[in-house]
């Protein structure tokens, strides 16, 4: 039974392939198979929060919240171009290169 559940993606199934596409991960068949089971376990584990009554509770985004943390609008020099491009896997004419973008 448990095996069956995992095989079709686990409890209400994380669609591993779909989520992997969202996250731009290409999974091998082997990894997809492994993750299907593991993700079902993990999702089952975190689903514990469903037991809590959280109605009317304010969500916490920041452990300590303050407001209005601003920087003044003062320009300052950044990286020089050679430094910025030094880390680039591929660059030409001062640009970072990628395979051609099709719009």
């Amino acid at each position: 039974m448990e095996q069956e559940k995992r095989a079709n993606g686990g409890n209400e199934g994380m669609d591993v392939r779909h989520v992997a596409l969202l996250a731009r991960l290409a999974l091998t068949d082997e990894d997809a198979e492994l993750f299907r089971g593991q993700m079902a376990d993990i999702v089952g584990f975190v689903r514990k929060i469903g037991e809590l009554n959280i109605e009317g509770i304010e969500p916490t985004t920041h452990a300590h919240r303050v407001e209005n943390v601003f920087r003044e609008d003062e320009p300052a020099p950044g990286l020089d171009r050679a430094t910025a491009l030094a880390n680039a896997p591929e660059q030409a004419q001062g640009l970072f290169l990628t395979p051609r973008i099709v719009e």
Partner: protein, 487 residues
């Protein structure tokens, strides 16, 4: 001098007295690294020439009469903290070749105080793990027993300090990544309150939980490094402007008038007996030092792991989106479109644990699941915070275990992610609530593995934790005293 046991404070005192030079300290450490790192894999990269030249520069400054709190003090740095000109690969293939253009703010502050940066320590890839087995550069091992894990994710830092290959090291703690390896290896691991030390330049794992801290041989070293790094930073909007605690409050000799809370939820039946005994013995010492111990309750503790494993992966899934092979790091060959480039690069570049967390994070944020997972977890996080707020009305600090057991064996949990995740059960709460917390070695168990206790303090009351830890350490005979205690 014996770099295998000397604390950072003692090393600095020796430098001040002229007993040794920074160059000698560094050479000695380099020799130990040379001899010991092959077995432990605690360091990923050490540039000996660079470390020596930093040390010589510090010695020259000292010779000119200049003084700085850490002048000439060698530090090891976890591989996720940027040091200008060094690699900062987070033990991942995807950041191969990346060179940090600038210092992290914490590094810049330490540098200004004279620190020498020795090398990069091993870690679980992108700090995702609890054993340093998920490193793309191979696992690190526990110097107390090489068949055991050093803990993680700052396992390389803990192993280096415990093995005498570093006097002190920096780590990062998102759910226990400093405290747990410190407990497993037998060193002091300190995570300051969220917002105390700038995260600018720390490669983000979970931005609302991450905090830079230290792994040291003694409590005073933790205090020293804390004061050198802490303080607001305009480049990290989450740092606070609240004043730092008084340094003398961090260096207590007794605990008179202090109330130590002992939360019942942190002593479940599954807790290893030796860990339980060690922590309860620490409570006994607290009482002997004049503290009152009080039973307290943190009722939402059982939900902490679920909250943590929703919030942290969610933030991580966005934080790690930038690793795409366009601007820096590794790029897969042969891609024909940006989409293809991303998928190939990220699939080759990330290890399985990182992929699992990215998948989980993308899932809990995705359309249709956000409310049930992410939003619910954020609300549950409020309940966990409120637990601590209430508890700290009744006590000054909390005493608890760091881990459910002493260091586990290599390979024991790598096949079962959930079992691995559960090792964070006592530590992640401090991150969720933004508190400061410290792992203090207490004793050796029957297998010769260290046992530790955790002190958790209110946010921005680092003195509550450092002061209590200092008094305990002193009561046990100083920084190495715990080694002679049995549990």
């Amino acid at each position: 001098m014996d770099t295998a046991s000397v604390t950072l404070g003692e090393a600095l005192a020796g430098l001040d007295r002229g007993d040794w030079s920074s160059e000698e300290l560094v050479s000695d450490l380099l020799a130990r690294i040379e001899a010991g790192n092959g077995a432990l894999n605690a360091y990923l990269d050490v540039d000996a020439d660079d470390a020596l030249s930093q040390a010589r520069a510090a010695d020259r400054q000292r010779a000119r009469g200049e003084r700085a709190p850490l002048l000439g003090a060698p530090l090891a740095v976890k591989d996720n903290i940027n040091v200008a000109g060094q690699s900062c690969a987070c033990a991942s293939r995807i950041l191969e070749g990346y060179k940090a253009p600038c210092d992290a703010t914490a590094i810049a502050r330490l540098r200004r105080e004279g620190a020498v940066f020795l090398g990069r320590t091993n870690m679980d890839e992108f700090a995702m793990g609890s054993s340093t087995e998920y490193s793309a550069r191979g696992p690190a091992r526990n110097p107390r027993n090489p068949d055991c894990v050093p803990g993680g994710s700052s396992g390389g830092s803990a192993a280096a300090v415990a093995a005498g290959m570093a006097l002190a090291a920096l780590g990062s703690d998102t759910g226990g990544s400093i405290r747990q390896p410190a407990a497993f290896c037998g060193c002091v691991g300190f995570k300051p309150s969220y917002g105390r030390v700038s995260r600018y330049g720390l490669t983000a794992f979970a931005s609302s939980l991450d905090q830079i801290g230290s792994l040291t041989r003694g409590v005073d070293d933790a205090t020293r490094l804390f004061f050198s790094m802490a303080g607001p930073d305009a480049r990290d909007a989450t740092t606070v402007t609240l004043p730092l605690p008084a340094p003398e409050a961090c260096r207590r000799e007794d605990l008179k008038g202090v109330v130590i809370g002992v939360p019942k939820e942190y002593f479940p039946s599954a807790l290893a007996p030796d860990v339980r005994a060690a922590v309860l013995a620490a409570a006994e010492t607290c009482r002997a030092l004049g503290a009152e111990t009080r039973d307290i309750s943190l009722p939402h503790t059982e939900y902490a792991m679920a909250v943590y494993y929703i919030v942290a992966p969610a933030e991580a899934s966005a934080n790690l989106a930038r690793f795409d092979g366009v601007r820096y790091g590794r790029r897969a060959a042969g891609a024909t479109s940006p989409m293809d480039l991303y998928c190939r690069t990220r699939s080759e570049g990330f290890g399985r644990e990182v992929k699992r967390r990215i998948l989980l994070g993308a899932y809990v944020l995705s359309s249709g699941y956000y409310d049930a997972y992410y939003l619910s977890a954020q609300k549950a996080r409020t309940l966990i915070r409120d637990d601590f707020t209430a508890a700290f009305r009744d006590c000054d600090a909390i005493l608890a275990p760091v881990t459910p057991s002493a260091a586990f064996r290599m390979g024991e949990k790598t096949e079962d992610p959930v079992q691995m995740y559960l090792t964070d059960v006592f530590t992640a709460t401090a991150n969720l609530a933004g508190l400061c917390a410290l792992s203090l070695p207490c004793a050796m168990n029957a297998d010769g593995l260290p046992l530790a206790a955790q002190l958790i303090g209110p946010a921005f009351r680092e003195d509550a934790v450092l002061g209590a830890a200092a008094a305990l350490e002193r009561a046990w005979g100083g920084p190495t005293g715990w080694m002679g205690r049995r549990a």
